[in-house]
C-alpha cells in the first residue's frame, strides 16, 4: 500500500491565487478569492463545506473544466490556463477521470459498453478496450453485472459503473463531485471505499468534493471551505496542518 509522498513529492494539482466570480442576475458573486492550494498523488483529498462555498468551482478549475478569472491552475505540472480547448480535451482524455453525482450513463449501453466507450476515444482497439473495461468493472465489484443496462441497475451500481468508466483509462487524476449524495448509507460507504482504494493502489490523485460527513473519516486529507476560502486543512494523521485562509503547503 502506497503512503502519501508529502512533503517531498511535488503536487499533482496546484492552484495559485485563483479567483472566480459569477453573475447572478444583477449581482456578481465572488465564489473563490485568491485561493492557493496543492493536492498530492496517492491521496484521497476531500473538499468539504456548506453549499455555495465554492468547492465544486475549485474542482472545476483544477480539472480544467473552467478557467479562473485570475490566478493560475496547474495539473501534472502543466499550466491549464495556457491550453486551448482542444488541448484541454486531450489532456482530460489522457489524464483525468470524473465521477459526478448524476451518473450520466447512456440508457442504450450496457455497463460493459459504458466503460468501454471512453477507451475508444483513446484509440484502443475493441478487444483491448473490452478487456480493460471488464477489469475496471471487476475492481468496483460490477463484473457480474457487465451486461446490465442502467434501467436494470440500482443507484449504487450505476455509480460504481460511473467510477469504473472513469477508472478504466487509468487516469492520474480522478475528480469526484458529490459522488455519494444520491446514495444510501451502504452504497455511499462502498463508493468511498472504492475511491480510497483507487488513490492508495494506483497512486491516483483523487480529489473529492462533498458535504457528506460520512466521507471525512475515510479521507487522507480534508480541506474545509467557507465563503470561497479554505478555512481548515486536516490530514489523517489526526493533526490539523493549518487553519489559515489559504492552505499552501509548498
Amino acid at each position: 500500500m502506497k503512503s502519501p509522498a508529502r512533503p517531498h513529492a511535488s503536487p499533482s494539482l496546484e492552484a495559485r491565487q485563483v479567483s472566480k466570480s459569477f453573475l447572478s442576475g444583477m449581482v456578481r458573486v465572488h465564489v473563490l478569492q485568491s485561493l492557493s492550494i496543492d493536492i498530492y498523488g496517492g491521496e484521497l483529498t476531500l473538499i468539504s463545506g456548506p453549499s455555495g462555498c465554492g468547492k465544486s468551482t475549485l474542482l472545476s478549475l483544477l480539472s480544467g473544466l473552467q478557467s479562473p478569472d485570475a490566478g493560475q491552475a496547474w495539473a501534472l505540472g502543466e499550466d491549464l490556463g495556457t491550453m486551448t480547448k482542444r488541448q484541454l480535451e486531450h489532456f482530460r482524455l489522457q489524464h483525468t477521470g470524473f465521477v459526478f453525482q448524476g451518473f450520466n450513463l447512456f440508457a442504450a449501453l450496457t455497463a460493459h459498453e459504458q466503460v468501454q466507450l471512453p477507451l475508444g476515444y483513446l484509440g484502443l482497439d475493441k478487444r483491448r478496450s473490452a478487456a480493460l473495461a471488464l477489469q475496471a468493472l471487476d475492481e468496483v465489484g460490477m463484473a457480474h453485472r457487465a451486461g446490465a443496462y442502467p434501467a436494470q441497475m440500482s443507484g449504487g451500481e450505476k455509480q460504481r459503473v460511473a467510477i469504473a468508466r472513469a477508472l478504466a483509462k487509468e487516469p492520474q487524476l480522478l475528480f469526484a463531485d458529490e459522488p455519494t449524495s444520491a446514495l444510501d448509507a451502504e452504497n455511499g460507504q462502498k463508493i468511498i471505499d472504492i475511491l480510497h482504494r483507487i488513490a492508495r493502489n494506483h497512486g491516483t490523485t483523487v480529489l473529492c468534493v462533498s458535504h457528506d460527513p460520512r466521507l471525512v473519516r475515510h479521507a487522507d486529507r480534508v480541506l474545509t471551505m467557507e465563503d470561497g476560502l479554505i478555512r481548515n486543512d486536516w490530514q489523517s494523521a489526526g493533526t490539523p496542518l493549518s487553519a489559515v485562509p489559504t492552505a499552501v503547503s509548498a
Binding site: 486531450h90 483525468t96 450520466n104 440508457a107 468501454q116 476515444y121 483509462k169
Partner: protein, 377 residues
C-alpha cells in the same frame, strides 16, 4: 469503438421516430410534387414522347409544341433529301371550339391531324393499330377517357368542332393536355375542321431515321437550311420534348409556383427534422457533457449526432420512397397526371438526405451547450 449512435437509436427509437417521420413526409411531399410536375408538364410534350419520330421540323423559335406555326410544304422534300431519313409525315395542329351534346358551353380543343397508316409515327406509342384504323372513318375522333365528361359526350356519341360534326369513336388514357383537350383525328378530318380563314398549312413535319442513334448527327446536318427553303428549325425528338416541358415549367407562373412549393417543403422538412433531432441531443446533453469531460472531443461527439442524422435520413428515405410509390400508383390508377423518372427520383433522394444532414448540423450546435461544467453541483 462502441456504436453509440446506432445503439442509442435502436434502444430509444421512440425518441427518434418524429425525426424519421419528418424526413419521410418531406420525401413524400417532394416526390409527389415532382411526379405531379413531371406528369402535368410532361403532357406538354405528349405529342413528341408518344410518337416514334426521331426528328421534328417546325417554325424557328417555337417554344412548345402547341405554339407551332405553319411551315412550307417543301420542307417535306428537304427532310427527305437527307440520306438517313427514311420516312417523313406531316403533323397537323388545329385549334378548335368543341360543343358536346350535353353541354352548351364551348371547350377549347387541340386537334392533332395524324396519318392513319399502320406505320405512322405520330402517337404510335399511345394509339393501338385498331384505334388508329378507326380514325379512317370521316369525322372520327379519339379523346382521353377522363375528358369525356368535360366534353359532354360519350364513346360513340357525337359533337361539333368549329361547327363541324365529329363522332367520338374511341377513348384512350394518357392523352390529357395542358390548357385544353387533345383530340386525335385523321389528317383529312383535321383539315376539314380548320377554320375557313385558316391558311391550311402544316406546322410540323416529323421524320424517322434509319437508326434513332443517328438523330443528333442528322439534326446537325439539317439545321443548316440552304437558301431557297423557308424558315425552318430541326430538333431531335428528345430536345423538342424537353424544350416544351421546360417552357411550361420555367416560363409560366404555374411551374415556378410548384418549384416554390418544393422549396417550402424542403425548408419545413429541415426545420421539423432539426427540431426533433435537437430535442434528442438536448435530452442526452448530460451524457454528452460527461463524455466531453472524459476527453471525447466535440468533433467526435458531433460525429455521433451526424451519424444519427444520416440514419434518420436513410430510414426516413426508405419510408418516404415506399409511401411515395404507393401514392403514385394510386394516383395513376385514378388518371391523376403523375410521372417519375429515375433521375428525378434520385434527385429527390439526394435532397432528402441533404435535408437530414443539414438538420444534423443544426443539432450539432446543441452540443455546444453540453458543457462538462454543467454536471457540477
Amino acid at each position: 469503438m462502441i456504436a453509440l449512435a446506432r445503439k442509442t437509436m435502436v434502444y430509444e427509437w421512440r425518441r427518434f421516430a418524429p425525426a424519421v417521420f419528418a424526413v419521410g413526409f418531406s420525401g413524400v411531399l417532394l416526390a409527389v410534387q415532382a411526379a405531379l410536375v413531371l406528369g402535368i408538364f410532361g403532357s406538354a410534350s405528349i405529342y413528341v414522347t408518344a410518337s416514334s419520330a426521331d426528328l421534328w421540323a417546325g417554325y424557328p423559335g417555337t417554344q412548345s409544341v402547341n405554339f407551332g406555326r405553319d411551315i412550307g410544304p417543301d420542307m417535306e422534300m428537304y427532310l427527305r433529301m437527307d440520306p438517313d431519313v427514311v420516312e417523313v409525315e406531316p403533323y397537323l395542329w388545329v385549334e378548335g371550339d368543341w360543343h358536346g351534346t350535353t353541354r352548351t358551353g364551348g371547350v377549347p380543343v387541340f386537334v392533332s391531324g395524324i396519318r392513319t397508316q399502320e406505320d405512322a409515327m405520330m402517337f404510335s406509342h399511345l394509339l393501338p393499330l385498331s384505334r388508329r384504323a378507326q380514325l379512317r372513318e370521316p369525322n372520327a375522333v379519339i379523346v382521353d377517357r377522363s375528358d369525356l365528361d368535360q366534353l359532354g359526350t360519350t364513346v360513340g356519341g357525337h359533337a361539333w368542332i368549329n361547327g363541324h360534326r365529329v363522332q367520338v369513336v374511341a377513348a384512350l388514357t394518357g392523352l390529357r393536355a395542358l390548357g385544353g383537350v387533345n383530340v386525335l383525328a385523321s389528317q383529312d378530318t383535321a383539315r376539314r375542321l380548320q377554320p375557313s380563314d385558316s391558311a391550311g398549312g402544316t406546322p410540323y413535319f416529323v421524320a424517322r431515321l434509319r437508326n434513332p442513334s443517328l438523330a443528333v448527327a442528322a439534326q446537325a446536318r439539317l439545321a443548316a437550311v440552304p437558301p431557297g427553303f423557308g424558315p425552318l428549325t430541326v430538333w431531335t425528338a428528345e430536345t423538342f420534348a424537353k424544350r416544351s416541358r421546360l417552357y411550361w415549367i420555367f416560363d409560366t407562373g404555374a411551374g415556378i409556383a410548384v418549384l416554390f412549393m418544393a422549396a417550402i417543403v424542403c425548408l419545413v422538412g429541415a426545420v421539423l427534422t432539426s427540431q426533433a433531432l435537437m430535442a434528442v441531443v438536448a435530452s442526452s446533453a448530460r451524457e454528452y457533457a460527461m463524455l466531453n469531460a472524459l476527453g471525447a472531443s466535440l468533433r467526435a461527439l458531433s460525429k455521433v449526432v451526424l451519424e444519427q442524422a444520416c440514419w434518420i435520413g436513410g430510414i426516413g428515405l426508405l419510408m418516404g420512397a415506399a409511401a411515395s410509390a404507393l401514392l403514385l400508383w394510386v394516383a395513376s390508377r385514378y388518371d391523376v397526371p403523375v410521372s417519375m423518372t429515375w433521375t428525378v427520383a434520385i434527385g429527390c433522394a439526394v435532397l432528402v438526405m441533404g435535408l437530414a444532414v443539414i438538420s444534423g448540423l443544426f443539432a450539432v450546435r446543441g452540443l455546444q451547450r453540453a458543457e462538462p461544467a454543467m454536471l457540477l453541483r
